[in-house]
């Protein structure tokens, strides 16, 4: 978003509380949705659940074309439409909800750095999976392993990355790891890499149970497959 547009959206966002009928649009599951888009959608859903903001998930074949930026997922809240995790986090913040307010400046810096790491490495791996560039498979797997190792170290024995409370980093990591673990692919090597890290597996399970199963939401996109 341009700076002016963003300031404008924030002002309007602040004006109204979160409505009951907020909707998230993504592509159809199964054949249509890409691995990377699925991860992005899951991350946003996890984030909203963590903020305790109700969201209804709707799958549409033309979701990409409905989106203002061409990117999925996007949310339709009141009369505003916002796409991608970053802008959605800002939008939600303008409405007075934040997961990272309790963090000090150093922790906020760390959080942003780790989010970039995830975007850099896991997203690349997912894109590779989709488009299957044979030449780089070794490098991609190594990057994924390095990224998972870093995440595993950072998480340690804590329930979330910044101890007791989840932040947008937890949502993003969950979105990507869960997608990698549960998507049926011809190549299992990617999910095997993630499975090497037991605390990351436990982390995914914990978020799935706490924010998706327990809520009894109708979001049928989250099923343990």
């Amino acid at each position: 978003m341009s700076l002016v547009a963003e300031a404008f959206v924030s002002q309007i966002a602040a004006a109204e509380p979160w409505p009951e009928n907020a909707t998230l649009y993504q592509q159809l599951k199964g054949e249509q949705i890409l691995v990377s888009d699925n991860a992005a959608s899951l991350a946003v859903q996890a984030f909203l659940q963590m903020c305790n903001l109700p969201i209804k998930v709707v799958c549409r074949a033309n979701a990409e074309y409905m989106s203002p930026s061409g990117k999925v997922p996007f949310i339709h809240v009141g009369n505003q439409v916002v796409s991608e995790l970053g802008p959605i986090v800002q939008f939600v913040k303008a409405k007075g909800h934040s997961l990272s307010d309790g963090l000090d400046e150093v922790q906020k810096a760390e959080m942003k750095a780790y989010m970039e790491l995830v975007n850099n490495m896991l997203l690349t791996a997912e894109l590779y999976l989709q488009w299957c560039d044979e030449a780089t498979v070794g490098e991609v797997l190594e990057d994924v392993d390095q990224c998972c190792q870093a995440l595993s170290q950072r998480l340690g024995t804590q329930p979330y990355f910044f101890n007791k409370q989840p932040t947008e980093l937890d949502a993003l990591v969950f979105g990507h790891l869960y997608t990698i673990l549960t998507t049926q692919l011809t190549n299992d090597e990617l999910s095997e890499k993630v499975k090497n890290y037991s605390n990351l597996l436990a982390f995914c399970r914990r978020i799935e149970q706490h924010y998706f199963e327990d809520r009894g939401k109708g979001s049928s996109s989250i099923k343990s497959s």
Binding site: M1, S2, L3, P68, S69, G70, K71, E105, V106, K108, A109, E110, K112, A113, Y114, E116, L117, N119, N120, M121, Q146, C147, Q149, A150, L151, Q153, R154, G156
Partner: protein, 270 residues
């Protein structure tokens, strides 16, 4: 005695041993880890590919790209990170990702895309170190490459106009600088008292931005307000790159090490 390590890289100016970020990252890492590098500054007579610079050459190997060069040096036991905990190692990866995604586009723009800067400073500097007729072609190619890289990572809808992309990348870069400044605080280095890989990367990307004199300076001005980052760069320049005539010889480096009472982890000695 280990085979000599030679680093071919772009040269210096404005008080820096190199004006090129990636070359600077490797040079700083070598200083921090005690790797004895023979530095060959590229000039018109150099015959290798300039696109791959910095390049590390040993008897049996040719390594390019900073990450790969640093990995290679670590395998040779020149390890600046041996005191780091596993978590600090993880943080290093994360912060490097942050720098590459959020800071690098604006640095590229400042040097290679912003017209006033490119035509009055960057292009003449590089062209004078490239032989004719490549000097007429290569800088332009690097400039286009920089623009492509910026647009590739940022120029997606709804940012259709270059001016909007520019606004976004500078905003991201300023935020990244703020984050780095917050993280560094009053410490000497990012992880305690000894410099590590992350310090090499931050120094490599920040120092040229800090020191090179450009006409269009918005990112520079922002950096100069973050005094702890400026102090960080100056400290490293003074401690590790005290320039003397015929600098960067092994002798000079060892002298500096002894003066500063540093301890390095590598097994081999020169």
């Amino acid at each position: 005695m280990a085979a000599p390590l030679e680093l071919s890289c772009w040269g210096g100016g404005w008080g820096l041993p190199s004006v090129h970020s990636e070359s600077l990252v490797v040079m700083a890492y070598a200083k921090f880890s005690g790797a004895p590098l023979k530095v060959n500054v590229i000039d018109k007579t150099w015959r290798g590919s300039r696109g791959d610079v910095p390049i590390l050459t040993t008897e049996d190997n040719i390594v390019s790209q900073p990450a790969k060069i640093l990995n290679f040096l670590r395998k040779q036991k020149y390890n600046a990170d041996y005191e780091l905990s596993a978590k600090q190692g993880a943080d290093t990866l994360a912060y490097i990702a942050l720098i590459e995604e959020k800071l690098l586009p604006a640095v590229l723009h400042t040097f290679w895309v912003e017209s006033d800067n490119y035509f009055s400073v960057t292009k003449p500097w590089f062209a004078s170190r490239i032989p004719f007729p490549l000097s007429l072609i290569l800088p332009g190619r690097i400039s286009k490459g920089a623009l492509n890289r910026i647009l590739l990572t940022r120029g997606e809808p709804p940012l259709y106009h270059l001016r909007e992309v520019e606004a976004q990348i500078y905003r991201d870069a300023k935020e990244c600088l703020n984050l780095l400044s917050n993280r560094l605080g009053t410490s000497q280095f990012f992880f305690g008292d000894t410099p590590s890989t992350l310090d090499a990367y931050v120094f490599g990307f920040l120092a040229p931005l800090y020191k090179v004199r450009f006409p269009k300076v918005q990112l520079q001005e922002h950096l100069k307000q973050l005094s702890n980052l400026c102090r960080f760069c100056d400290d490293i320049l003074n401690s590790y790159f005290r320039l003397s005539l015929g600098a960067f010889s092994c002798m000079n480096r060892n002298q500096q090490q002894i003066d500063l009472g540093e301890v390095h982890s590598h097994d081999s000695t020169t």
